[in-house]
């Protein structure tokens, strides 16, 4: 019984980090109505940025947030502004612009191969990392410390994003644009700037997720792909565009993956995750926590 509880808690911890990767995806989708296929690659870029920030400056892995989050924000902002926006403008009368999805797929391939070219195929882990393998003993259970901090960072990030969307001028403008682009234009909101900012925020969140992963996960050029597919499943489970849904969806997937192996072959847990995903699509296509309409 204690094992199940321990696995559940560890599942919640890692699941919240999955949720963090999905959160960036859901923010970008909520505003641009575009599934960003490059999101896993953005996570990869975030992980490399975090890795090199720690290696080159020797700061504590979590202090890298101060560098990674703004760097990734501007990376996303200009990626959208320079590469995605022109395609968006060409398709401006389409509600869900398909060609933009193809462009994000191109960005994915380019980023993954660029990092292969620059950093090589080897798996990198942080050496002399103060967090590696550290465990917290709590009521007879062993909990991973870096995953625990990842959980805390995920919850704080989600709360901050939620607050930003509810209470700030820019946040309200982003929500308005996601609900009705043309009407938002008539309120004096420059929609292309909003897309840049939303993409920047989504990318910064991917960077934050990267920082939480680096202390206990390998960094390599195709690392994003593993999280990409999970991210899509989580976003659909939780409801596209829902902030709380992304985190909770991530936790559901994390718990299934972590508790499942107690009762069955570990490979079966994947089947359960995908089965649940299909069930949600059949029964409640707007996702477990999504709104029927939009955002």
């Amino acid at each position: 019984m204690l094992y199940v509880l321990e696995d559940t808690i560890n599942g919640i911890l890692i699941g919240s980090i999955y949720g963090l990767t999905a959160l960036g995806l859901t923010v970008i989708f909520g505003v641009l109505k575009v599934i960003n296929f490059a999101h896993g690659s953005l996570l990869m870029v975030g992980m490399y940025t975090a890795y090199w920030a720690v290696v080159l400056t020797g700061i504590h892995p979590y202090l890298a947030l101060i560098i990674v989050a703004p760097v990734m924000y501007f990376f996303g902002y200009y990626l959208q502004n320079i590469i995605i926006k022109p395609i968006f403008k060409a398709e401006k009368d389409v509600r869900e612009p398909i060609t933009v999805i193809i462009v994000t797929t191109g960005v994915w391939y380019v980023l993954d191969n660029l990092s292969l070219l620059i950093f090589g195929p080897q798996y990198r882990t942080l050496q002399d990392n103060p967090l590696r393998g550290k465990m917290l003993e709590f009521a007879g259970m062993m909990l991973s410390i870096p995953k625990f901090w990842g959980f805390v960072i995920a919850i704080v990030t989600a709360a901050a994003v939620y607050w930003f969307f509810q209470k700030t001028r820019m946040g309200r403008a982003i929500r308005a644009t996601s609900l009705d682009r043309e009407s938002a234009s008539l309120m004096g909101i420059n929609q292309y700037r909003i897309y840049n900012v939303a993409f920047g925020i989504g990318t910064a969140i991917a960077g934050i997720a990267g920082v939480t992963l680096v202390p206990f996960y390998n960094v390599f050029p195709s690392v994003g792909v593993l999280f990409d597919i999970k991210g899509f499943i989580i976003v659909v489970l939780g409801g596209l565009g829902s902030i709380g849904g992304a985190i909770l969806g991530g936790i559901i997937v994390g718990v299934i993956e972590s508790v499942g192996p107690q009762f069955m072959a570990a490979t079966w847990t994947e089947a359960i995750v995908y089965g649940l995903f299909l069930m949600v699509l059949f029964v409640k296509p707007s996702g477990l926590f999504g709104v029927k309409y939009d955002w």
């Binding site: 308005a176 043309e182 008539l186 004096g188 309409y293 939009d294």
Partner: protein, 236 residues
Amino acid sequence: MAFLEVRNIEVFYGDVQVIFDLSLHVEEGEVVSIIGGNGAGKSTLLRSISGLVPPAKGEILFEGVPIHKAPPEAIVERGLVQVPEGRRLFTLMSVKDNLIVGAYNSRADRVKEKTIEAVYELLPRLRERESQLAMTLSGGEQQMVAIGRGLMAKPKLLMLDEPSLGLAPLLSKNIFETVRKIADQGTTVVLVEQDVMHSLSISERGYVLEQGRTVMEGPAKELLDDPHIKTAYLGI
């Protein structure tokens, strides 16, 4: 020089021409009605002035400055604000957030606390409903939110596209009274309407659009007495 001046514009949706060589002008402080049936090009005219569908030919000047090449947000910043047809509220945001988004432009943002009080004063129902989601309101209340949201942008000229659309007669009368009050408080108003009688009765002047062209213009009183308008629009 006129406050808003539209000079010989031609507007297309793709290959389809909707507005042909249309000119009109609005003076400061006026209420001007633009009337006409379905497909006359009334909404397109407003969308063109707002910068959503830039004209292919011709010029639009606001306070003497050409705006026909400016993006929508720059036009709002100048104080030319449109309340779109069908309200187009941000349905999953609260009434108050809808109003605050209306004050997004930098001129309006600085004074939004004061403006919101003035809007609540004019439309007291909105204060009662401020924390409700916009989609839960009735049609008449939604139209009030749309007008209030337009006022939040601190317009010098407010363009309203069919504010009475789909409303019961009593509510629609209410909306026209509100529009008149807005004009009396010093905002210039352009009113696009199918309810010819009510809209002309609160206006100084009017234009009649048919198939993308102005077919008549003049003081509202004269238009109301005109035989063509009586038969074509008022059914008398």
